[in-house]
Point group: C2
Amino acid sequence: MTVAGTHLLGMMTGAGEGPGFTAIDPRTGGALPPTFHDASPAQVEQAMALAGGAHPEFELAGRERRARLLEAVAAGIEALGEELIQRAGAETALPVARLESERGRTVAQLRLFATVVRAGDYLDLRIDHGNPARTPVPKPDVRSMRRALGPVVVFGASNFPLAFSVAGGDTASALAAGCPVVVKAHPSHPGTSELVGRVIVTAVQNLGLPDGTFSLLQGQGTAVGRALVEHPLTRAVGFTGSLAGGRALFDAAGRRLEPIPVYAEMGSVNPVFVLPGRLAADLEDLVSGLANSITLGVGQFCTNPGLIVLPAGPRADTLVGALAQRLGQTTEGTMLSPGIRARYQQGLDAVTGRPGVTVAARRPAIGAAGAAAALVTVPAAAFLRDPVLHQEIFGPATVVVLTPPDELEAVARALHGQLTATLYATPQDLTTFPRLQSILEQRVGRLLYGGFPTGVEVCHAMVHGGPYPATTDASSTSVGTAAIDRFTRPLCWQNFPDDQLPEELRDRAPAGLRRRVDGEWRTTE
Amino acid sequence: MTVAGTHLLGMMTGAGEGPGFTAIDPRTGGALPPTFHDASPAQVEQAMALAGGAHPEFELAGRERRARLLEAVAAGIEALGEELIQRAGAETALPVARLESERGRTVAQLRLFATVVRAGDYLDLRIDHGNPARTPVPKPDVRSMRRALGPVVVFGASNFPLAFSVAGGDTASALAAGCPVVVKAHPSHPGTSELVGRVIVTAVQNLGLPDGTFSLLQGQGTAVGRALVEHPLTRAVGFTGSLAGGRALFDAAGRRLEPIPVYAEMGSVNPVFVLPGRLAADLEDLVSGLANSITLGVGQFCTNPGLIVLPAGPRADTLVGALAQRLGQTTEGTMLSPGIRARYQQGLDAVTGRPGVTVAARRPAIGAAGAAAALVTVPAAAFLRDPVLHQEIFGPATVVVLTPPDELEAVARALHGQLTATLYATPQDLTTFPRLQSILEQRVGRLLYGGFPTGVEVCHAMVHGGPYPATTDASSTSVGTAAIDRFTRPLCWQNFPDDQLPEELRDRAPAGLRRRVDGEWRTTE
């Protein structure tokens, strides 16, 4: 398949109209052909009009066909083979092994959502039978299920060119729910985006699904994304990226005549608390595990551990020293783009210049996009009064807060909303700090007992979310099967003839559906 | 119980500090003692600090105690007896029978949510067991459930002094979820609010639940409500009222440093479509039913049918004539307040002055708060180009759109988001207008086949919601058992020791809980 530099407008392609740009190889700083173009306002309008026209026909095509679409996209991505891995590698500098693993995750997500659609639990089927004889007023027959919201705009993420981009988690869950999707490709990997986008268009076409079920628009600046969020036909937005970017989209969506939800996952510092009992034990595995988690993917994960909280003392100093040594030995990595490297250095410079901050490990960066791991320490008192130290530094940098034990809970209370927090503790520690777990539960979407926050398992119980500023919507998740709920809304039918109801709500529904009938769970036969 | 004119700040009462006001008897225009006062900024701070302090202790007190709280509040409201009905009647001019029925609904809602809390389905319990032997990385043990969001601010509604006010649906579902609640009483029924508020405080106290689980603040202007929505400890807002009021709160919440969800139910015109086949049948029951639904409670329901769409012709003229005659015979009612009456007259004047509008029934209003039903007709062409005719007139006024049959679907497409739509149709009609049902499904939370939209059944399958401007959040409902979901968020625990998990997620959990274990549904024994 050739990367042509075009937009995908439903079944059609769209040639360049707006300003041109190319992908950059972060390893060399060189331009990668072909030239892409910002989508024009007319192309934005075309993509959204097609998406609006595909709704609700795409949803009404049925769950089985949507499941097949997801499976066809998964197979199509696998069939791209080396071409996809090579293009993604050139555009992102991510190693082949990482990209292959990310591809595996991407197709697994698509296939998992196919099972979710077929099972139909997410429909939340409810039937309350009527009673015409009830007094003083008859009881109506009321039946409800969750339906697709309508066209969804998905923004590709810089750090996951496959798993959180064109056919990533947001797209998979939105298509599963029955929503047409318009993807705004991330400008740092437009070629990868086009390759995957073409797979989706082909699958839509082969399955005879409506034109406009999927479109892909390219764009370097913020204009294309802004226009998509402001378009009257857009019903929801999925975004993974920076706090500034996510908040700008959230604000734009809130200013609309008809506001729409923006599900923005904006990152977090993912605090790791090591309590005294655990700190007294052997530290070797902890140090090597932390070093690996901090430097994994050059620290470019939203679950990167950017904050470690330790009870101050000789054991903490030992851990910091060993971790600094280990980080000092890691190879410099190439970041996703020169821009991300520049922001990493700025963030690190800002932190190292704050009162009370001591640098434990830092090496100068090499090349246009190279970055080395860094570790700094700060006493709790300085951390508690300095907002700069609470901000995420996207990249392999970690702040260690050294705290008197009786300030541990205060440090936890001072934290913003986070995707994750990790607790290293013995049973005795949890007795000594009885409120710490509860304090952290109030601030995160996922709480780990030991282990490391990087590596987000795709499963039913996963929650990848959390209070602001980790996300703009703490009541949902962007990873795991519950992610489908974000793109649905409940709808109920009162006193409808059976044959005018969706088939899942009829008296004779397809077999194997779980429904809440008059408050009791029943499975259709 | 005496109405003292105080705020309820957790277990304490708060005397007047801000500007004073009284309730007004809409029947006489006279002031009802005692004097209430706008809560001061310090009192807002006190209520929110107490609510913040009660979270998460109130949730962690457990589901059984929350269920008992809801039941105690229901019993306490019943025990108020005549005093509550009399005060509510004096403050709202609602008839005794209506208030008794609303009280019945209120206590039934509280008891229904007690069953929801005990059953625990809303927790959405999920367990994915780990597999330490998996390669290349071990599979973690991940367990998730929905937890309370934290302090919720609830605004009392003018038109439901009991069922959508202090102990109404939003409060019942928020307390059920485990969220402390701060109610901003509606200034038109402050005494009713205080009576019910004292019942809740007493129940909290008797059950030994945390101080701050519930507070009630009075206020006449918008300052108190605004301060509550902007308070950093507030985690969500429930509101039932006007579009202007709901949007102002939504915008204020969106401007916060940490945005929070505002669940505002803002009303709708609830279109009723009568298709040709049904229009050709006997119209007697339809006319009397529509007249009753339009004038019920002096039209002061968010589900009041404010728009009727008819295929133009002699049968439509017959229906309009009969309906106008019936409405002309209805007794004038007293509206909830002189302000609501004034806005009703303004809305009606605006509509009757629009191009193409013909008045079919309208009588002059009498007294400070009296209002008579009104009916106007307009051709579809004029309706389609005039935004004024799409706006809700809160009260017993209805616009009839007379349309050529081939414009029926265009009229449906032009509608804003609605709480409900009603379809009167024969099977032949649904074949003639094959897209109409689907068009309406895109625009509503509840679709009725015949019947009348007023009267919202409280049950599992009810959806009282819908796309903007009916609500600010189409993905939820404010009536029915699913309303509890709005005040929760998912949280997951990774690799946690069993005894540190919430009891519902432990290997040995309380009996009777339904959990999704490795993707399969299991009920604990």
